[in-house]
Symmetry: D2
Subunit: 410 residues, 4 copies
Amino acid sequence: MSDLVDREYDLLAERLAHQGLDLEGIKERLKVQEIETPSWGYGNSGTRFGVFKQAGAARDLHERLADAAMVHQLTGVCPSTAIHIPWDKVDDFGALKQEAEDLGIRIGAVNPNVFQDADYKMGSFANSSERVRRNALDHLVACIDIMEQVNSKVLSLWFADGTNYPGQGDFRRRKHWFEAGLREVHEALPEGARMLIEYKFFEPGFYLTDIADWGMAAFYCKHTGPRAQVLVDLGHHPLSTNIEHVVAFLIDEGLLGGFHFNNRKYADDDVTTGSVNPYEVFLIYNEIVAAEDDPSIRDLDIAYMVDQSHNIKPKMEAMIQTVVFIQSAYARALLVDRNALLASQTEEDTVRSESILQEAFTTDVRPLLARVRKEMGLHPDPVAAYRASGYFEKIAEERVGELEGAGSWG
Amino acid sequence: MSDLVDREYDLLAERLAHQGLDLEGIKERLKVQEIETPSWGYGNSGTRFGVFKQAGAARDLHERLADAAMVHQLTGVCPSTAIHIPWDKVDDFGALKQEAEDLGIRIGAVNPNVFQDADYKMGSFANSSERVRRNALDHLVACIDIMEQVNSKVLSLWFADGTNYPGQGDFRRRKHWFEAGLREVHEALPEGARMLIEYKFFEPGFYLTDIADWGMAAFYCKHTGPRAQVLVDLGHHPLSTNIEHVVAFLIDEGLLGGFHFNNRKYADDDVTTGSVNPYEVFLIYNEIVAAEDDPSIRDLDIAYMVDQSHNIKPKMEAMIQTVVFIQSAYARALLVDRNALLASQTEEDTVRSESILQEAFTTDVRPLLARVRKEMGLHPDPVAAYRASGYFEKIAEERVGELEGAGSWG
Amino acid sequence: MSDLVDREYDLLAERLAHQGLDLEGIKERLKVQEIETPSWGYGNSGTRFGVFKQAGAARDLHERLADAAMVHQLTGVCPSTAIHIPWDKVDDFGALKQEAEDLGIRIGAVNPNVFQDADYKMGSFANSSERVRRNALDHLVACIDIMEQVNSKVLSLWFADGTNYPGQGDFRRRKHWFEAGLREVHEALPEGARMLIEYKFFEPGFYLTDIADWGMAAFYCKHTGPRAQVLVDLGHHPLSTNIEHVVAFLIDEGLLGGFHFNNRKYADDDVTTGSVNPYEVFLIYNEIVAAEDDPSIRDLDIAYMVDQSHNIKPKMEAMIQTVVFIQSAYARALLVDRNALLASQTEEDTVRSESILQEAFTTDVRPLLARVRKEMGLHPDPVAAYRASGYFEKIAEERVGELEGAGSWG
Amino acid sequence: MSDLVDREYDLLAERLAHQGLDLEGIKERLKVQEIETPSWGYGNSGTRFGVFKQAGAARDLHERLADAAMVHQLTGVCPSTAIHIPWDKVDDFGALKQEAEDLGIRIGAVNPNVFQDADYKMGSFANSSERVRRNALDHLVACIDIMEQVNSKVLSLWFADGTNYPGQGDFRRRKHWFEAGLREVHEALPEGARMLIEYKFFEPGFYLTDIADWGMAAFYCKHTGPRAQVLVDLGHHPLSTNIEHVVAFLIDEGLLGGFHFNNRKYADDDVTTGSVNPYEVFLIYNEIVAAEDDPSIRDLDIAYMVDQSHNIKPKMEAMIQTVVFIQSAYARALLVDRNALLASQTEEDTVRSESILQEAFTTDVRPLLARVRKEMGLHPDPVAAYRASGYFEKIAEERVGELEGAGSWG
């Protein structure tokens, strides 16, 4: 089979050369792609109806880091892992940083939690109690302190604040509290760091979510400061939303800070990226590649982070499958002939314009990615490599009893 | 104020007499209305992001029954309570029946649980393991045994079976397993009992739900037997679904078995009935009253059951508020002038037809319900009566530490 | 009956006095409420499947003005009518202004049309042809000229620009063209006038809409200038959107310019306001009243405009019914006890907070509105007055043959 | 390039042989695939905001047939065209049949129209006027007569019946009228013919649609007779509906009669099949192929029909693009390894099960389809062949002035 894949690659290379694409440049970009995996993606999680515990699920941060390192080892494009405080709290974050580096990875975004404590029942920054608002701010500042210790450059903020009933909260009063809180966070940010503000259409609030859409997140950023940007979670939009349009709009406003990758068919399902509509993920990457190629766009700095909640699929396999899918979306977007596209758009040749995208999407990039991995010294098929590695058997045997539980997360 | 309410009632009576409505008949129907409250509505519950424990939340079935009895005492229309097995499992169900009767209520629907055990991770009746399918059937038969002990006439079936990913399950194979399982349940039903089959658009399955809509539930009923009917949960439809149309369609097919009342703005939010769109609940009751008034409809036997999950509102207050709202929806529907409506429909006078419904909906029925309650020997305002009763203070003090947890539930 | 309504009013007044509400102040606010009706609401319209012509539908602008004047005569709160260019194009707009004044009304918002001409098949401001973009701008400037002639203060902008297929248009290039076009419009605005930018989730574009949500509209306003504000059409949001939250957010940002009132169950259905979820309209007015009552909000200047498309209901009746419904929504919102609400919100008493809104919504304000109308010298029931007026019979007889057709409109 | 495609085919053949797939059998199935194109897809159509006329759009049935024949000539898989009465009414249907045959095609489904005439303003079979219900029935019987003349075996029924407002119609009364009407149609069907009942979530009714979902259509079929089956239009479901599940359910019940292919992102957008979520179309074909391969499924008889409304894309190109896409969906579904899938499902290996589908979907089938076309004596790329044919230039020149207009259609 390996010989077949090589020949498939050769033929693909021949086709892409016909199209005038710079195959070596494409491979270079695929080699430096970075996808951050989340520590909480390696532990047990579930739905409100229950959590089905998995054999081998990571029980503490050390095991989560080991799993993240294994994913990076197999894929080569996951050099960092996001942490969640307090689920990932340790006594010595300096030692943690070293532990990650020893594993060949680094700590990525720091994700505070201001929704789980009983205190936050009625909200964090939008809580009518000044004490609770102050607690929330203190927690965020503590997370910023952790950022400095682990050399993280991204504070990733998801607020569960919202209400379940009309009348429960005063929209504008809550907005003002949020503006004040976010400004204080901005002031506390370390040099060179950013804060990403996530929005969500609903849940756990079933009437109001204080930061309900990209527009609210963007206005909060504008009121907060230059280092506040918007975080786009693929599952946090109303159904049918043209997400790639939102992405392009935010890029144009200099406000796109990063992604939480997952997929959804119904609500915030947090299923595997690309499992519902792979074409949509391609169209999002198409906007990213267009911006990367656009000399008028400066300072594009996007954090690509996975945020999924797998209840059924084995954690490690699901994560590797996700990373491979995201690579393929980027690869396909790199195959779009942008000059031809601009020309057909200007000529109003809609069938041709659409076909240019569809041809890139339809191209089977598996031989290309296999070659990229080979050139990076990796196995061409990370899932197969994982299944053959014995890693699962090892952790399933070792990780008996749950030491420490991680929760679910927006 | 009480004098004011009396005068408001008198004026309302005068207006309704003008309209030719039979006020005494309406009051009689309001007095015999029955709304079943669920035992699991009195204990702690939450979202996938966490459960905020409430002071006074019931810790075991005995406390849940006491709460249900208190709601009946205050409202007069909640004479039964649904139970959930195993959450409400006791050693002696004969004693439980007596305990409920001593409290002035009875046991209503029995709700099995075939989704929470680790065994059911990949489904119950749609599980590819014959052993698990048999376990599920055994559990349902055990619940039927409990029905006989507590003299329940309704087996209320919600199946969480579904999948998260394309390919994960074979749709038609799963369907056949479901048909077989349901037929076995039907055969085991006691004399005079029914089984209600609930459907749900999604969750916890995020790709497939085996019984995804009323049509599938209705076809399963047809394949199962004459004592299988459909259960309509107000939160289990795609957005915008004309639920009152589904209700009328099921009534016409003789397949409407009951309701789970709650409300939703986004997904299966399980918030208080009437909190999102009170007009919609009225329109549903409008179909029910039309069927009650229609001599061609025989054997209408609808179980009206509450199924909500309150994370923020105090359990008892939320339940009483819910019951009062449902009463008001029924009361308004009883005010619709059906002869005038039929005439205006036949004349294609759309503005008039709509106005007939709107006028009934807009009528303030609080004085009417206050009078009904007075005539039933109750306080005219159940929420106020509850707040004045000292019941909450008592249970908040007594119920310290959680003895036994109930779960969340579709 | 008229005596009964008087006694109902007296009893309502007694109840509101108990609640400490300023009934005279409330009546004053109801008397000065203004709702603008659209000229295109008086002519034939339909769906893509066809237009069913109505007896008496207005055939030209003169008939539309007469109809609008009749609605104002009956309701007392519709002193202006919006016009649509070119559907309402006349030779002498000075004479038109006089004609309206002679009828007791005035010209309200001017609505340009840059979507109907063949030229706009691929968009207006987002068209890749500079010529078409220039045509669109010229048309808008011509409309501004009309504004000056009829003394209109509102330019109401809806752009149908969008695409049907991925690849068809370049998002960011289109955005830049829009920014440039809108800025030129802003520069041309007359002294004291505003331009309102409408957004829409989808249709007629089925993949992209250039101004797809309130956030995009708001960002365009920010890029355009201080006299650009957002126009909220109630039917232009994804399902489940918390519209009252968007309204409050825009008010807080000083960006709420006006409304297009209608209702929707599914998409942009353009059905009668309040026909789907009357509680939602109340909750929107609740935010408006809260802002009116808030001394920190200055310069609140909201244009309240109807925009519906009635295919089944007779045009005039539907319009009057709409106006009466909007009055009732405002009336109910004026009954909210805001001090009690703020207190219960601060105490986190969710059941109480919600009940305060529900009690206002549940109050039957028909006697109050009947009294307001009587005090304004009007018939207490505008629909009944219209049916008794013989107006319909007159126009149905006179308006034979269609002189001039108006179209459909977002 | 042609040589490259040949080599790509050879490599693909090698890969599929590795997988144990029967390539010759797959090619045979692709050669006999049939996709019916609709006559109304060749004429001008639009949205409620207007129709942009296209150069070369067919002006009458003769031109529509010529276009349909050209599509068949280029693709080889479109041997029939659906007609719509009265848009396609001719004096001599016998001559029409011959005309089609002379062009190398045949007449497919006959589609009656009971929504466009003023008579149908308030519905057809659900109209409260017995006269109108009778007119509708007469029209359907007249269409059945046409079926006999053109030897059509499919009567394709879409009813626009619905209401816009609560109260406007009585749900159960309307249901009974529908049942009676459909039974009469069934009795009139010619030997060997079927009637397909289409459902639609909404539009043009914005409150009620009488046949709103597959469940209602299926119950109507059951009440109608054995030759009534359900027609699935891909754009007629609530958002997120798992359409492939509905398809499998209908197949299992023996009720799947056919498809209307198109795609939708928002509502019933009627855009090109596969343009929104190509994976979804593949998953639907996956169920069809599974049923074709299942010996327990007998009498599978599915009519595959295109129903799109192109406002922007040139009609002919859009149709060819659609057909090519549907071919590729079928081709990919034929590559699924069903034995491996069943095994992995039984083993509950979700990642593997999903991957089996994804691998088939990801395979680039363009070389396979090119080869199939070559073996059928066709150009390997039908869109390119069409662009090179000069057909468009010819019709754009000839078809000046609109002779006869076709409408829009659900």
